[in-house]
């Protein structure tokens, strides 16, 4: 049980800044895919349904996205 506890503890150690950056990358991809599929910009609600994340959390992730975009851009180009 000591092992399990430590495992849970480690899991809890993920920084929120990192998890928001990960979400912002998913958001970036989902937005591109949905824009292509719909022929228009998706709304925040549509993105929230697609990613199973609250709308408010999506805007929080957008804020964390600045650096992510520059990190991932080269892969996309």
């Amino acid at each position: 049980s000591g092992e399990i506890k430590r495992f849970l503890r480690d899991d809890g150690m993920i920084k929120v800044s990192r998890s928001l950056k990960e979400l912002s990358y998913k958001l970036f991809q989902a937005r591109e895919e949905m824009t292509a599929a719909l022929g228009r910009e998706p709304t925040i609600e549509e993105l929230s349904l697609e990613l199973h994340v609250e709308k408010e959390e999506i805007v929080q992730a957008m804020e964390a996205g600045g650096e992510v975009e520059s990190i991932y851009k080269p892969i996309h180009q």
Binding site: M13, I14, K15, V16, S17, E56, E57, Q60, E63
Partner: protein, 151 residues
């Protein structure tokens, strides 16, 4: 960054603002570079306090709820305040499983959650005089420990 920082948010007591309030508090808390777990603890505690103001304090009428946050070094303080009907017996209200609204499917666990997820919870209230819930949590406790372990 400065060692202290303050914000205050005031909003209508409708349930659609609950998520907004949680995220506003979480966004402010981000400055302390918390873990996912710490943020979700604070969000849960704030959610419970805000729900109480909406449902019990204001009986679901629309009035104002005020949240004050203060950061002092790595201590996070949050106060949730309503000017609703107040609590007659605070000690009783804070007992796990105690609820005055079982018909609304309340579990009576709101204060118990706040106490579980925060380091300190203080309630100030008077019948007819509104309710103030003050909570504190130190962010990054034991982080040095973890660092030492992983070396």
């Amino acid at each position: 960054m400065r060692d202290t920082n303050e914000m205050e948010v005031i909003f209508d007591s409708c349930s659609s603002n609950e998520r907004f309030a949680r995220v506003a508090v979480a966004a402010f808390l981000t400055q302390l570079n918390p873990t996912v777990e710490e943020v979700s603890d604070v969000k849960t505690a704030v959610s419970e306090a805000v729900t109480n103001s909406i449902i019990h304090g204001y009986d679901q009428e629309i009035h104002k709820i005020r949240i004050q946050c203060r950061i002092d070094q790595n201590l996070f303080m949050v106060v949730v305040k309503d000017e609703g009907k107040g609590i007659e017996d605070i000690a009783q209200a804070m007992m796990p499983m105690y609820t005055t609204r079982p018909e609304l499917d309340r579990s009576g666990m709101g204060f118990a959650f706040m106490e579980a997820f925060m380091d300190k919870v203080e309630v100030e209230s008077a019948l007819g005089g509104g309710t103030t819930v003050r909570m504190e949590k130190t962010i990054g406790k034991g982080r040095n420990l973890w660092t030492t372990q992983s070396l």
